[in-house]
Subunit: 640 residues, 2 copies
Amino acid sequence: MKTQHQASISAYKADGFIGKYQRLVKDVVIPYQYSVLCDQAPDTEKSHVISNFINAGKALRGDQIPEDGFYGMVFQDSDAAKWIEAAAYSLSLFPDEKLEKTVDELIDIIAAAQDEDGYLNTYYTIKDRDKRFTNLQEGHELYCSGHMMEAACAYYEATGKDKLLQVMLKNMEHIYRYFITEKHDGYPGHPEVELALLKLYRLSGNPHSLELAEHFINIRGVDPHFYEKEKAGRDWSVWNNDPTDTDYLQASAPVREQKDAVGHAVRAVYLYTAMADLAASTDDKELSAACRRLWESITRRRMYLTGGIGSTVIGEAFTVDYDLPNDTAYAETCAAIALIFFGSRMLENEVDGEYGDICERAFYNAVLAGMQLDGKRFFYVNPLEVIPGISGAAQTHKHDLPVRPKWYACACCPPNVARLVSSFGKYAYGENEDTAFCHLFAAGEVSLENGMKFTCETNYPYDFEILYRIEKGGNLALRIPGFSKTWQIDLNGRKLSQTDVTPKKGYVYLSVSDGDTVRLTLDGTPRFQYASSKVPELTGKTAVCRGPLVYCFEGVDNQDDILSLSLRKGGALNISDGQSALPEGTVTITADALRTQTTDDADLYTDKAPVTNSCQAVAVPYYTWGNRGENQMRVWMDYQ
Amino acid sequence: MKTQHQASISAYKADGFIGKYQRLVKDVVIPYQYSVLCDQAPDTEKSHVISNFINAGKALRGDQIPEDGFYGMVFQDSDAAKWIEAAAYSLSLFPDEKLEKTVDELIDIIAAAQDEDGYLNTYYTIKDRDKRFTNLQEGHELYCSGHMMEAACAYYEATGKDKLLQVMLKNMEHIYRYFITEKHDGYPGHPEVELALLKLYRLSGNPHSLELAEHFINIRGVDPHFYEKEKAGRDWSVWNNDPTDTDYLQASAPVREQKDAVGHAVRAVYLYTAMADLAASTDDKELSAACRRLWESITRRRMYLTGGIGSTVIGEAFTVDYDLPNDTAYAETCAAIALIFFGSRMLENEVDGEYGDICERAFYNAVLAGMQLDGKRFFYVNPLEVIPGISGAAQTHKHDLPVRPKWYACACCPPNVARLVSSFGKYAYGENEDTAFCHLFAAGEVSLENGMKFTCETNYPYDFEILYRIEKGGNLALRIPGFSKTWQIDLNGRKLSQTDVTPKKGYVYLSVSDGDTVRLTLDGTPRFQYASSKVPELTGKTAVCRGPLVYCFEGVDNQDDILSLSLRKGGALNISDGQSALPEGTVTITADALRTQTTDDADLYTDKAPVTNSCQAVAVPYYTWGNRGENQMRVWMDYQ
């Protein structure tokens, strides 16, 4: 059984750092993304998402549609789904009649694009209805259904309106009929529907939804040659993907036998998320053990310091252990988001601070870096080193851009950030019948289904005091982050001794009563980080962190040259504030450093040992990088 | 006019280090490669080169040939050409009736494969004669002709036999008619014929050969869209190469306007070699200046410490300035060989020690590393860091193999090494009417066309005394390598003062008489090397060199773990000998080092500063790496 489960979307009203981000998503990201879906955003690649749905509806009614009635990627529908999901979460935080009306209208359009039998996908409905489910490898129909199921659940949770939910239950039954009743072979090329079906099951109680999720998870990789056979019986292709690359598709072996995180990182971790959810929901120890192995494969051998995962652009994929290049990193924003999904479901199997540590690492670094501070531009790719002239320029670095572009033809990451930020409370807070779990530190008001209520006051991640004011008591489980080697808890102003509050697997458990105040004080001292010497790219390097934030050094703060800069071994790291043209409250770190004298010498190689001068180097939080124009950036620095 | 020119193939009878390599090429490489050409080498990919020529001859006579009469790459013929060239040079060093007979027979086969009009190419002759010269971008006909012209010149030089020379003069006239007389558009997709035509001109005096070389060089890039037009008029392709990627093809601008070394590295540098040759031959200052710019682009911004060039596998190409990754390096053996060709021709424009320095850097490191010490296996790709588990395994590192394979389907590098080693004297020694130029240090007997004769005694690159015994005197120009900050010259046992022998652009000039002895003593102290801080990959790193040799650290000498090893700043570098299961005489270097304690801690990242213990690290010459099984290797080491 689940140790605890995610808080509902209405459980958390945010304030502080998270609250500001949620407001930014509401004020800027959601309206902007909607304008993109409508093809009304200026200077932006055409999206056509809503037109696709309108045209699909017309096609179903036999109305005339233009020849280019469908435009975009085969998975274009999912942009609408992710936008609705983000808007739903946002609506539950910030009621907004106008936005709700917009969503309702979009849902009407979507509903009209559903076929009588429940099938829903604009690409196939417009282009070729006979090809449905004949290209599971590339076709993304189940992926799009999954996202729309998530949207339906979110919108129902946020508003109580069930139109989209009914559409997606009907769609689920259609998929059920095809794969279960009619016993068609195959499983999703891009996992996503599995985790969505589990959400749909939890919300609706419909047993077909659970059965279908279990089916897709259990059948995966049992026949690793399924996609080859599928392709052999087909005379068309979307991208000519290789059906024999079963690692890319997480289909080399049944999921319970998979040992290493492989292939397309988002696909992989969406799958693992569903596996962890199912394992907790059904108490499946074997599946849970497989999830744990895959979790360790990622977090102990295949993850960047920022929580970025999937280190290569080739297939947007995991590679091999310890292959973590800084400059050619892929580390897709969506993959880091998926890692948070996975961590959150692992917490439902076992409450262990490690999961929160990783979720936090991914959120405050790899995910937030994906969005410009003004919410208007986005990174897919999150390298840990950018050198203009090489990054974005050399063939091997084309994907590592020095500044965020506006929108992408493949627009998966921006709405994914929006939905994660808007539903942050689900990941920050968990509950079971008698306990409130504070997995992540998130200021605001919390009211849980188990009756507990409290507020959290903090300027985390820039301040390390977290104050909980208990309105309705019970048991409080507080995560002690791995980064905080020292910490203190005060209950109603009285310091608790370490014997009172011995942490169990990274959590302290307190019984709290109405009116209590609990103050958790963590260690916010900036610290150096070092990588395992098994990572070739990182030998001789150090990084600077504070709390959950990874810092980086940008040219703009460091005389436009960070390559001749190294940190001083054991040097001081001092926090400062407000020097850097970054938003108020952003804490920067000044580090004792050495700068190599550059000479006019044109030599590429020399036997003259570098001469260095002492200096101070300025670091800024990684998530803020690339907000002040194109310039150099490095997370991992040389030190001497 | 040329400052001086390469010595003839018969000018140098090698001894010492080079002599051993030339004998290895004769005893092992040439016979092995011939067995490959005949498809008689065991466990080796099929070559079919000689069968292709036989079948082409049959096809011309109207005889029946099998349906798969042609096998291999479109440029398969060039393997035969490079082998003949290597065999020719080897024959001039080591007369061998049996080998000469084998070459003669092969030449008969080749001659029989030449069409009546002079055309010679087995791919087109067997597969489709109508497609001749319709795919200059991919077709490699001119490339193959170029290599065969080089072979013809070499074999005539070595043996005085002119059968192949006549074949290739006829072939040249055919090309001349097509491109000059009949004014067909276009220029070679893979430059090579240009430098070969200049060789052919020098040997034969045939003015068409010079005119054709000039034409191809001058017309290149004048119409950057030529290949697009060519493709538009064609319904077939060999590889579907992109005709708009004019950088890949060095066709973005006329050659005199090209500023950066771009595109496929071998193509680029074969072109630059021909340009430098033509510039020196015709006293073309503008062309010479373009060559100098391209030379600087390579050697000051785009070259590995080893002399390897072309840092990316994508297009086997140059990338952008300072993009020199160690682990994903391409650094094709053939490209380093081409750099020596280019340097040697630059020396004909201007005698400057810089050219010899680079030729030596490339030869002793990037080129020699291409061949296993036993002459039986070869690398195309010469990375500066190899970590088994990542190298050869991760998608981005597939090309960086930890051990040398036997032979390749695309077998350009092995015979290229063979022909360079066998003709080393041409690059080591130059002459003009009154001076002998010692560009590289190469033990053996030298007798030049200008009448000078001397022997050179040295164990270079492991010993740094070079003794010249003059038999027939004249002027002697000795290069003082850039690595040797101190040096001394003794004439007949008397030390010359620095005022007697002030070097001019890296050369000292001495007048020597019959019977004189000249002893040059260079500095062979091991030294640390540092890279410009503009190279992101190399900040905080140092490498160890001695003389022209770059050293590397392999796991086998260093407890199977070089990643936790760093060198001590300013530490000692001591030479030692014979510990390393490498051939006798190989000097290793022991360096003061620090080893990071590894813990059982599974953490990928930690805030615990690494704890180090003093130790000694063993470095071996880079060219010897990968000869003792699969293990880690690093050139650039952390230091602290």
